[in-house]
Each structure stands twice: as structure tokens, then as C-alpha cells.
Point group: C2
């Protein structure tokens, strides 16, 4: 199988390097090919998602993605900014489902801003829709009749878009504790009302999953007050962007959490949830575990290698329990050394 490595900007390359080393050790038959993306893509080829990069992504069986973004590109037209790379990949490859597990690793109770007794209860997966919503609706500027500037973006979902992400979420809940909470703002938004209607229709296909609904404002409270109440959450692109980052922070260091973007086939894009962190780039301070764990998700979802995925996850749990700590976790271990100890723990 061919793995596309898209390291991107900032700490992306250094964390991808460690994740690739771990994948090479666990799944020896893989081929890797690298391409520039994000700011690096713009520098190399004048576009955050150069044609050669998109082509590699399309040919690949799975993509390991680092991170994109740097203030240097903030003044570019939106279409040329690094973030467009990730939006473009999701859309072009039809990666409509984002899986974001949030769970506190044993030994990291002190890394969460939540009280340890609350943080310990977090074990949830957010299933976020990735290719619709206000992200991809018509958008633009106009001048109103009376000469004022106005900006607009259309939020919309069609029933099939909701149904397919709902099915991913119900199936995820089936494989866990059987509870799914759908989050919307149906008391205000028509898009949310359609979302809720369709989720309820799809629920008939999954009678063994217990479905509940929550408004997004309440969900933002509940993720702080009692995150342990959630098993699987399903929500739209915009609410998912906000809530999944919030949930990650509740679970402790964002240097520990992986994510997957998948579609209807087995291809997927795997990335640490942390950003490019340009302030610490190239200094060996980045925590590579989120990228390494993204590699585990890659093996599980795209290559069907559950054993390899579990081996990586167990190795990471072992090094954390053993006290390995990069600076984000209060330690001094370098990026490469953390990669080394994970490799050792695999053996």
C-alpha cells in the first residue's frame, strides 16, 4: 500500500517523521511518498494544494498529514492560504467523516484543565461532518442597496449528506457503548431541524443504539461539566470544529490526540489534531504522539490492520505510563527521543 506523507508547515514535518518511523516498524510492506502542502505547497508551487500533491493524495491508499498554517501567509487571498489545502483534500477525496476520539491517557490526569476526577471520565468520539455546512455553501461579499458592505455564507445540509454521516456515527456507537448524541441548534436553524429529522429517520436502522439530541450551547456546557456522559457525538462541520477542539482540551494535552477523515471507501486522511505551532517548529520540542497515534488510526481504518494499530496504541500507553514527557506534558524529552522510546516499546 502507498502512504502519502504530507508534512505541511511548522512542526508538521518533525512529527510526521516519527510517525513514519513507527509505521515502518509495525507494517514493513508500506511504500511512502512525500509532497508539499499548505504554506510549504505555496512556497514550492504557488498553491497550498499543488496538483502534484493532490494527485499523490488521490493515488494513495492513505494520507498521513502533519499540520498547515503560518502567520506569514495570513495576508494572502483566502484561496491561497494554507488552510485551503485541508479543506480541498477533504472535498476532493470525499472525506466526509471526521473521527475524533478524546480520551485521557492514564498518567496524564494532571495535563487536563479539568479536575482529575472529571477528566478521568472522558472517553468519547466526536463524529464531525466534513464536506458540507456553512464551510462549503455559497459565500461572498456584496454591497447592500444603501451602500453598506456585507459578508455572507450559506449554511445548508441535504438529507443524503446527513444520512451518511449519521450512519458512520451510529456504526461507531454500535462498536462502543451504544449511545449517540446528535448536536444541533434546531431551535433556531432550519439546517439543524433537517439534520435532526434525518438523524431520527436513520436511527430506525440502528435499533440497538440509544439516540439523544442536544443543543450546541448546552453541549458546550456539558463537555465541561460532565464530559463522561458522552459516548459518541455526531454533529455538523461548524459545530464539530468547535466542540471537537473543546473536547480535546478537556482530555488534556492536544499533543496526544489523533484524528481520521474518512469517506465511503477505505481511503482516509490521518492527522494530529494540534496545529503547526510555528513558534516551536524545528526545535525538537513537538510531541509526536498525536501523529504516531494518527498512524495507528491509519492502519485500522484504511489498511484493516487492527493488530498493528493496537500495537502502536499499547506502546504509546506504555511510554506515557513509564513517564516519557515532551515539553507540552511538562517534560524535556525531544521529538526524536519520544519516537525512539515508542519504537523501543513496540519491540
Amino acid at each position: 500500500p502507498l502512504i502519502a506523507i504530507l508534512p505541511g508547515d511548522g512542526i508538521g514535518p518533525e512529527v510526521c517523521r516519527e510517525a513514519q518511523r513507527v509505521l515502518e516498524a509495525v507494517a514493513p510492506g508500506l511504500a511512502f511518498e512525500e509532497a508539499a502542502v499548505g504554506g510549504a505547497g505555496y512556497d514550492a508551487a504557488g498553491h497550498p494544494l499543488p496538483p502534484a500533491t493532490l494527485d499523490l493524495a488521490k493515488r494513495s491508499d492513505a494520507i498521513l498529514f502533519g499540520a498547515v498554517g503560518d502567520a506569514r501567509y495570513d495576508r494572502l487571498d483566502r484561496a491561497l492560504r494554507p488552510e485551503q489545502a485541508i479543506l480541498g483534500l477533504r472535498k476532493e477525496l470525499g472525506l466526509f467523516a471526521n473521527l475524533r476520539p478524546a480520551k485521557l491517557f492514564a498518567g496524564l490526569e494532571d495535563a487536563s484543565a479539568l479536575r482529575p476526577e472529571i477528566a478521568r471520565t472522558i472517553d468519547l468520539v466526536i463524529v464531525r461532518e466534513l464536506t458540507g455546512d456553512v464551510y462549503f455553501g455559497a459565500k461572498g461579499r456584496r454591497t447592500t442597496e444603501d451602500g453598506r458592505r456585507e459578508g455572507h455564507d450559506v449554511m445548508a445540509y441535504a438529507e443524503d449528506e446527513v444520512a451518511r454521516i449519521a450512519r458512520v456515527a451510529f456504526a461507531t456507537a454500535q462498536g462502543r457503548n451504544g449511545r449517540l448524541c446528535s448536536i444541533d441548534k434546531a431551535n433556531v436553524l432550519e439546517t439543524s431541524q433537517l439534520w435532526r429529522d434525518v438523524v431520527i429517520e436513520v436511527a430506525a436502522e440502528f435499533p440497538e443504539v440509544e439516540l439523544s439530541h442536544m443543543y450546541v450551547d448546552n453541549a458546550a456546557m456539558q463537555l465541561v461539566r460532565d464530559p463522561g456522559q458522552f459516548d459518541v457525538i455526531v454533529t455538523g462541520n461548524l459545530f464539530g470544529d468547535i466542540l471537537s477542539d473543546q473536547a480535546s482540551m478537556c482530555a488534556g494535552s492536544i499533543g496526544m490526540l489523533p484524528s481520521a477523515a474518512i469517506g465511503s471507501g477505505t481511503q482516509g486522511l490521518y492527522e494530529p489534531i494540534h496545529g503547526s505551532a510555528p513558534d516551536i517548529a524545528g526545535q525538537g520540542k513537538a510531541n509526536p504522539l498525536a501523529a504516531i497515534l494518527s498512524g495507528a488510526m491509519l492502519l485500522r481504518h484504511s489498511l484493516g490492520d487492527e493488530a498493528g494499530a493496537a500495537r502502536i496504541e499499547a506502546a504509546v500507553a506504555r511510554v506515557i505510563a513509564g513517564g516519557a514527557r515532551t515539553p507540552d506534558l511538562g517534560g524535556t524529552m525531544t521529538t526524536a527521543t519520544m519516537g525512539d522510546v515508542v519504537l523501543k516499546a513496540l519491540a
Copy 2:
């Protein structure tokens, strides 16, 4: 001055009662007039915001609002559901600015889900725009050409809508620690890009305020990780709905936090941020302090009575420091007894 009392549903009436008693004690010259709103409005007059209620609200100098909502009304058309009352009042009265202070009361360190050392640092005000955004844009259902159901809502802001809320926020920051953080999703949304452009333009009028910008997903993380970094936050209607509830929960019991909705004049609507809590309605279990503190905001913003507002706030701080606790704070004190002890502390 005439105060409209709109108690609404669930625990709304019982917390409004205590807030009115406190206002009567602190500001003897006030006249009070009550009207039905929300589910109670629907029951009494077939509409969540009956014409007589809207008329009273318009005639009044300030509105004390309880809470609206009950699952009994969930199956009504959206236009008849209790929430429409609050949306209608905001729009009809031009109450475009929501002020939501979030601060931990000394003595309630254990009520927050955050570690006490983090919770103690929270002292911020969220300024949320209330009459624009995806809340009030065109919305509806349609059937696509190929026969699929679709729901849509238009998100939009015009420059004057952004400028006036920005001015409220800059002025609020001026009266505090001089730091304003504007929250948007300008890397994806045109509405946000216009928002950011206009906020930067308005900043020129307030050279002594330090302005920063943050994406909403990062803000949801930072409010958990390090809420003490914020002084004043300004954001749109939808992001403000989510972030203000999140911030409230970080600050501890939502039974303690008031809010104000103000416009360009002195009229305002004041309400506890908690909801109608139908499960505990009528049992004397509700914490009336958020409503009582909303009364303090009413005196300050609508009646210019800073001394009266400060007296109420000091009395509430005193009873909390003295150990008064309703069930939401882990105690057994009833709603009315909490009102009594605040009245006593005023003396």
C-alpha cells in the same frame, strides 16, 4: 421607572419573584408590571410573545426576564415555540448587545469543573451580538432538483451591525483591563472576514484598547485551558451562544450568572443565563442569585443606579462567602430563603 416582569416558564417565576423583592428593597421608586411569555404566553394567548407582552416590554424602562422553554412545546411549529419569545424581544426592541460576565465567586471554587487554580483566574465579559448572524438570515427548506430535502440558513453581517457591537465591546474593555479579543472563523467564512475587517477599523477609535483575534475553535480550547487570559471577548450571535455558555460553565454554577441585552438607548432586558429547568420547577430548589444579579445589571445599565447595583452584588458576595448554598451549589437552602438572606445582607 417601569419594570416589566416576564417570568416565563419552569423556574422563571420563582427566581423572578426573589429578584423583584430585592429590587423593591434597593430601589423603592420602581413600578412593576407582569406579563406572560414563552410557553406561558402560548398557554395564555396562543403565542410565545403575545401582543400585550410585547407592548408592555416596549413601554417599560427595563425588562426582568425569567426563562422560557419546556419539552411540552417541542412539537409546535418553530414560530410558536417558547424560544421565539426571546428572539422576538431582542429583535423588536433592538437589543443587539448581550453582556455576559463570567467570574468565579469567592467560596465557589469547588463548583467549577476546572481545577480551582484555573477557575479562580476567570474574570471576563463576553459581548455577543444578538440581532444578526445566521439567527436572523433567510432560512427554509427546499427540494433540490434531484428530489432531496435540504435545509438552509443564511449567515450574514453588514458593516454597521459589526461596528456597533464592536463599539460596545471596546467601551466595555476600556472600563476594564483594556484588552479585547474578537472571535471569528475568518479562515473559512466571508461573514467572519468582514467582521474582522470592521473590528479592526473600529479599533482606530479606541487606541488605548489592545485588540487581538482568535478563531472560534481555538477560543473553545483556550476557554478551558487558560480562561484567565481573556478580559473582554466580542463575537457574533452563533459563536457567542456557544462560547458564552461554555465560559459560564467554566466559572462554576450557572445558577450564579446574570446577563444583559442592551441596545442603543438605556432600555435593556436582563435575565439569568440558566434555562427554565422544568424538572425542578415549583419545588423551591432553584438558585435565585443569577436573577438577583440580573436585577443588579438592570439598575446599572438601564437606570444608571451604580450604587444600587453594587449594593446587590456585595450582598450576594456576602451570602456566598457566608456559606449560603442552594442545591445547585451543594446545599439545601430554598429559593425563598436565599432571597431572604440576600435581603438581610442588604441591610
